[in-house]
Each structure stands twice: as C-alpha cells, then as structure tokens.
Amino acid sequence: MRDRTAYRNKPKWDTILCPAIILSILAFLVFTGAAFASTNPPKWAGSRVSPVHQIPLRDEYNQLIVPTETSPLPFSARYSCAPCHDYDVIKGGWHFNATADVPPGRPGEPWILLDERTGTQIPLSYRPWKGMWKPAALGLSNWDFTLLFGRHFPGGSVAEPADGEMTPESRWNVSGKIEINCLGCHNASRMQNPSEWAKQVLRENFRWAATAASGLGEVGGMSSRLRPTWDLFDGPNPDDSEWAVAPSVKYNRALFDSKHRVFLDLNYKADDARCLACHSSAPAGQVKRDFDDDVHTAAGIKCAECHRNDLSHAMVRGYEGEGGLNPAAAGEDFTCRGCHLGGETAGGKFIVPGRLGAPRPVHKGLPEVHFKRLNCTVCHSGPLPAKETPRVRTARANRLGIFGVADWSTELPFIGEPVYVRDANKKLAPNRVVWPAYWAKVSGKSLALLKPTDVSAAAGEILLPETPVIKILAALNGLNEVDGTAGLSYGGRLYEINIDGGLSSTAAAEPAQKNTAPVAQILVRKDGQFTPLVLDFDPANAETAVEPEARIQKILEGLTAMDGAPGRPVLIFKGWQYRIAESALDKSERKEPPAASPEILWIKGDRREPLIPAFNLRTMAALAGSDQTLTEEQVELVLKALASKAPAEYAHIAAGRMFRLGKKGALEAVSHDAASPLTWPIAHRVRPARQALGVNGCTDCHSGGSKFFFARTRAAGPLKTDRAVVRSAVSFMGLTMPFHKLFGLSFLVRPWFKVALGIAAFLIISILAVLFLTTLGRASGLIEKRR
C-alpha cells in the first residue's frame, strides 16, 4: 500500500519543473527566433513589384533629418534603411565581408597598392587568396586602406571599423565611418555620382560621402583639413571659412515632402552603371567608340540578373564550384554552363538549361577534351590572345571612372590579359596578370617587404630626379623678367611645370639629333614661341649689354633665393662670368675658353656643378614619354642608400626578377619566386559566339604560331628595364612549348589527313558493300539463278 504521508512530504517537482520547462522553452524559442530572424531574410510574399521608397532619412544618431534645419547631419543608411532591411544581415554580404572569416572562393581582383615614386605595385587583399599580401604586412591600418581605396569602396567592412579596430593615428572621429552605401548600388537616379563619392572620400568626408554622391544634398568642407580633435558636434569653424572648413550638408529641399520624407528611386537589381563604377575594365589605349559591351549586356541582361543575391547580399559570383561555398549560388545555376548547357552539378542537382533565354551551343566538331580542360571563358571571354599580351586598365587598379578637370586615372599598375591559368578544377581560365614590384630586405631566401615610405626616406633625392628642375623653373617663372613660361629642353623633349606643380614633358618640335650629346637648355615659351632664357648679346659692349645684364642679374637673384639652392649660381657667356656679389651683379673676365652660349652653373666651394645634375637629366630623359617611373640606375643608387642607412642586403623586385647589388656593387637581376606574377581569373567581357576563339577552326589555337599557346607576356611594372622576364602562354598553362609547337604544326597536314581518312573509309565501305552484296546474293540464290 502506498504511503500517503511520504507522498505528501515529497517536494512537488512537477509544480516547480513545469513552469521552469515552459519558461525555458519560451526563452529558447525567443532566442532562437531572434537568431533566426537575424540570419534569415524575410520571406518573399510573391509580389514582383518593388515598393516605392518614399521614406524619412535618419542620421547616424537615428534622428530624423529635417532638411530645413540648420546644419543637418548627413543621412545614415544604417538607420534610414533599417526599419525594413536588417543592416547586420547585409554586412555579411560579399562586398562587405572581406575581413570576415568566410571561404574566399575563387581569387578575385586584388587592390593594388601603387606608389609611383618608389616603383611599388603590390596586390593586396584581406581575403586569403594565394600570392596576395595582407594589408597589415605593409603596416596599412583600416584608416590607411580606406584612404587609399575608399574611392571604389561600397562602404562597410574596413571602412566601418569597430571602436576597438581604430588605430591612434587614424582620424575616424573627424571623418566618421563609411557605412554601407546602399545607394551606391541601388540608386536608380542618374544623380548618383561615383566621382563625387571618390572626391568626398579623398577629402576624408567619410560620413558625408553617401549623401553627396547620391545627389540628395550638397556637401562642402574638408575633414582632412580639420584639426584631429574636431568632433561632429563642434560644428563649423566661425574663424575660418576658406581653408579648414568643416563639412556640412545642404539638402536639396525639393526632394523632400512636407513630412520630411524623400523619394529614393531605387532598383532592387542594381543598374549596370552602378556595378561598372567599380568593376569596369577596358583594353589600354582603346578608343571608347570601338569598345563593345559584353554580349549579355548587349542582349539586355543586367549584371544583377546573374550576380544575384538576397538580403544577405551573398552575391552569386558565377564560377564553377561556387555552389559548395555559397548557398546563395543555388547550386551553380548562374555559371556559363548552368545557363547554356544545364546538366547535373557536383551536388547532384539537375539544372535545366536555357535560363534567361540562354541559347544552347552546338560546338560542332569540338573534341570533348576541350570541355574537360577549358572553362567556357577561355574561348568566349576577354580579349582575343595577341602576340604580346595586351594591357588592360581596371576601375579599381587604375582609378577609372573618377571624372573631373584633372585626370585621376593612372597607367600604372600594368595589368595584362589574357593569360590562361588552371583553376581549382584544373581547367584553364583566362586570367589577368600583374607583376609585383617592391623593395625588400633579403634574409637568406626570404624577403621582408619594405614600406614605400621607408624606401622614400632612405632614397631621398634619388627618387625625385625632377625636383631640381621644378625648383629652377618655378624660381624663373616667378620673375617678372621672364616674360613667359620657363621650360627645360633636353634630349628632344620640353619639360614644363604642370597645373599640379609636377613636371610634364612633351616631345619637342625638333627632335634631338642623334650621335650628339644632348644639351640642357632653359627656354621661355611665349605665345607658342620659344626663346633662350638669355638672348645672345656682346658682353664686351657696355652699351648693348645693359639690358641683358639686368635680366641676368634678376635670373641669378631668383636662383640664389631658390629653396634648396645647391650653391651660388653663376652665368658664363663667351669670356665673361656673372655672379651676384653683395646684392649686385659682379661681372668678371674668365680665364677658361669662351662659352658659345649662356650657361648657368652652381658654385659649391671651389667646384662648379651643372645647373641640373647629369643623373637627373639622364633619369628624366629615360623615363620621359613612358609610363614607367624608375630606372635601373635609380634602383642601384637606392639599394646602396638603403644599405648605407642600415647595413643589410636589399633587393628590388620588379619585372619578374629580383634586382640586387652584385659582389662588385653593380646591379644584377636574378630569378626569385617572389617576383612571380599574380593572376586572377576573369569572366567578362563575353564576346559573341562568332568572335569566339576557335570559330575559324582548330588552327585558331593549334598552329605553329598560335597566339593562344605562344603569346608572350612581358613582365611590366614601374621599372624601366631591358631585363624583364618574358613568359610564353604555355608556361602559364603549365604545358610544354615543344609539344604544342609539334601538335600545332600537325594541323598543317590535318586537312590532308582527313582526306586520306575519308578515301580509306570510302574504299573499305566499298569493299564491305561488295562483300555484303555478293554474300547476300549467294545466300539468296540470286547469283546462281543469274548464272
């Protein structure tokens, strides 16, 4: 029998446990529900219409923006879009997760750190792609990186660091962070201006950039000129309305309604122009008129039709094998193969071809091995292979798409395409190639990269060959007596100071004569006419020499007062020497042979030195008219300068080689793995089928002189050298040249081979037919009957 007393005395677990369990379950549901809601985008209800975005704008403090208020703040995408779109979910998207621990997938275009002065071009990426440097390896903080590359950033990521990621020398408190710029991609308004974005970023107006670029408001002022302690709430500086002007927004009030709501013309699928602001590329030197768009664009397909994403912004990149890494890739639906061929993916999913009306290619007579060994893009994308791998300029590397009076684009870094390289699937794919160029400290076989700033500091004037010329020309241009613009004529080129204070050179009307040593001469340009700085006169004639000597006095005074003058200037002409002594022109007879034309020299102690050192003239002449910025002589001098400052072995990696000082102190170029090129695959520009490689037959690729197999890629970069590595296309493919030469040559006889096979087949068919018919005739008795 049950002991009722004992029962009553037992603690009532059920009364305690039940509420606890229910509460636990509820808590679990709440937390998991919240987590689910934050990682899963809201379900699409089914309407194919995008909502009209007539919304109030909010600033970074989540306060409503009233455009009529004084000093309104710039709008914040984080808070303006947040009521409907989860900013934290978007932050995980491909464009914003470079620093996150996500699978890197197929290599993409690196950011290329370019320092023309030191001849540095280093491919960088936060993603762990092979051959690319981490920005931290160069000591680049989030701030540095944003300043360097923010011009083509979509915002977020390193441009929006957490408070703990800010370095002391950064100025985030002044500039603000660059939030994800939703309008940068989704704004359908033609007011969206990537150039304005770049301008604001370079002014360090980070938090204002999106507002200015979208055209919602006009932004003035420059954060870069403000003191480092300036804060957003400090507002404008009433004492300075010219230089250190604090950024401010003047909203376009016509865009707002009475409820302070603004109409944003947004595209769910970004317009191509938005993508191309950062992702456009074009062959170097091509005329815009001659450029054809990608065949998909020509067919009316937008970038975002294939490069899809949901709220997570996990973009479909569209390469084979992506499906395993990116769930948003939907099992490789949007590869070339997915749309055009269909079939079963590695994941076992069957893809129905023909999506977006993709035609099915026939590829008549194309051996199967091509599909096993080549990506579709080999034959269909990028420029056709040429004898020398052509150069391409990309928006991010060459600063394209930033328009203004000044030309923002750069020729460097040199990027070549196409070279064909095997991908992770062992298939060839067209790639872009860049040859790294940097300075390094050598320790055995390993190299420690040197920062460009450290190299510049050690190199001093070696890397600034034009500086003396600029100073001299600037000094002369400041003189009233020089009625025109002073320029330096040397080696068939004329050097003049440009609008940026740098030196530009143009080919002289009369080219330099060969077999004669070039002579440096200062000329004055006025109304398109060039005259010598000092006109011909007779110093011995006291009457006619008055005016020229007054001019000489002013010139010498100007040069004496020149910043960083290396000595005292003197002018020699015929048998006379002019110098400034006690603020007056001192004229004396010379003992040396008379000078045929006026010549200015520097006197340093007892020595006389030319107005412009020979090294500077030589270097300028070597680099003039080319896109390169460094000579071998400079490399040798810089290596010596580095070694003298901190004794060690140094090297310059460039043009596919390692340049170092040999045992006798001369520059030598050797092979080194660190000088190997970096490649990354491309998918566009897709050409029409009739422009595909192979459309003319096998010999498009398989011939003795095939550009596909034997195109030469010259290692190019900032260094001007004749010792650059030249690689053949087969070496990038991992193939052997003799075999492909032989194989290509075999195609010379391929037509005759086919004819021979055809004749042989015809004869055999005839014989077999005779046998068959005679046997049939005998078996049926027809032949006997005939007999």
């Binding site: 008549k364 021979a756 046998l771």
Partner: protein, 228 residues
C-alpha cells in the same frame, strides 16, 4: 569504368579460351577412354612453360621466320613492308589506346595521342590497301555459305577454322572501318559536341572488338599448334 571492366574481362576471357583450347589439344587422350579432364594445375604449368618459351630469343627468330614465310606467300615483294607497317601501327594503336583507356583516368593525351592520331591515319590507309589486296582471298565460298544456312545453337559448332578466320578478318575490317569513321567524324564540324562522347565510346568498343578479333586471328593463323 565499365569499359575498363569489359576490356579486362574480355581480354582475359579470350586469352583464357585460346590458351585453354591449346592446352586441351596438347593433352593426349587415352586410346579408348574419354577425353582427359581439364586440370587447372596442369594448365598452369603448361601456361608457364609456354610463356617461358615465348620469351626466349629463339622465339623471336621463329616468329621472324614465320612472318617471312607467311608474307612471302600472301604479301610478296614490297607488300611485305606494307603489312609490317600495318601490324606495327595496329600494335601501337592498341597498346597506347588501351593503356590510357584502362589505366589513365584522363585518357590518352600528349605525345602518345599525337602518335595515336598519326599512326591511326596510316592504319586507315594501310587497312584499305590490304583489303584491296586481300579481300578476294577472304570471300565466303559456297561451302561456308551452307554453314550460314545451318546457323543454330551452338553457333560455331560446325564451323571450319578457315571460315572462322574469314569471319575474324571481316570483323576486323568492319570494326576497323568504325574506328576510322568515328575518328573522322569527330574531326569534322558536322556533329555537335554532344556526339563526341558517343563517338569516342564507339571508337573504344570497336577497338576492343577489333583487338579481340586480331588476337584470335593471330592465334589461329600464326602460332603453331602444340605438340601432344
């Protein structure tokens, strides 16, 4: 994979059948008793002895002499060299083709492929030439056609060796033609790329059948019967 399995099984099967038949023929039956039973031990020892003798220098000399004798009769004069070239072509094509098809996942590539293509062309021309020269000798005659009429299970029970040789000859010729056509069609811009795997499949199986036919033909024609 299927082709690899079929190839290995078919080759082993044919080799076993041919050697087993020869082993059986080498056994001396009792005068009034039944035919001796197939003994695996004895077969193994016999096979080892035959293999050993095949690798003796004398075998090469004998093969050379047999080749001379045979070609002197059927391929006199310069035709002998055509026949030799044909045999060498076929040996290379079969060796390179089956080695890569069976053992190399990627299939044939590189220089072996170039050799395969070049010698394939030569093989086609020589096959046509040899057929023109020898087709008449391999015509089916009246008696054999009578055998045709009596085709019934087991099919080859009453078939003479001469008839089997002719059958093998034409089998080889027919599948040689398929080999040529599949190679030719794969090079011409006539069929879509989707047809290429099918053409290669036909090429491979035709090659297997031609090889098996050649093996049996050579065994029946050139290798002397064992002494009991």
């Amino acid at each position: 994979m299927l082709f690899t399995i079929i190839t290995i099984l078919a080759l082993l099967g044919v080799l076993f059948r041919q050697t087993a038949l020869r082993y059986r023929d080498s056994q001396t039956p009792a005068a009034d008793g039944p035919a001796p039973k197939f003994a695996w031990n004895g077969y193994g020892a016999w096979l080892a002895a035959r293999a050993k003798s095949a690798f003796q220098f004398d075998t090469v000399r004998k093969a050379g002499a047999e080749f001379e004798r045979w070609t002197a009769r059927y391929y006199p004069g310069w035709m002998k060299w055509l026949f030799a070239a044909f045999v060498l072509c076929f040996l290379y094509l079969a060796g390179s083709g089956f080695f890569f098809a069976v053992f190399i996942a990627r299939g044939i590539y590189g220089l072996p492929l170039v050799g395969h293509v070049v010698l394939g062309g030569l093989f086609a021309v020589l096959l046509a030439a040899l057929l023109l020269w020898r087709a008449r000798d391999y015509r089916f005659d009246e008696r054999e056609e009578a055998v045709f009429e009596r085709v019934a299970c087991p099919v080859f029970k009453n078939v003479s060796k001469a008839f089997v040789r002719k059958l093998l000859f034409w089998t080889f010729a027919f599948f040689g033609l398929v080999l040529i056509l599949t190679a030719l069609l794969s090079m011409l811009p006539i069929l879509p790329a989707d047809a290429q795997p099918t053409l290669i499949l036909f090429h491979k199986y035709s090659a297997l059948i031609a090889l098996l036919a050649a093996v049996v033909f050579v065994d029946m024609t050139f290798i002397p019967a064992p002494r009991p």
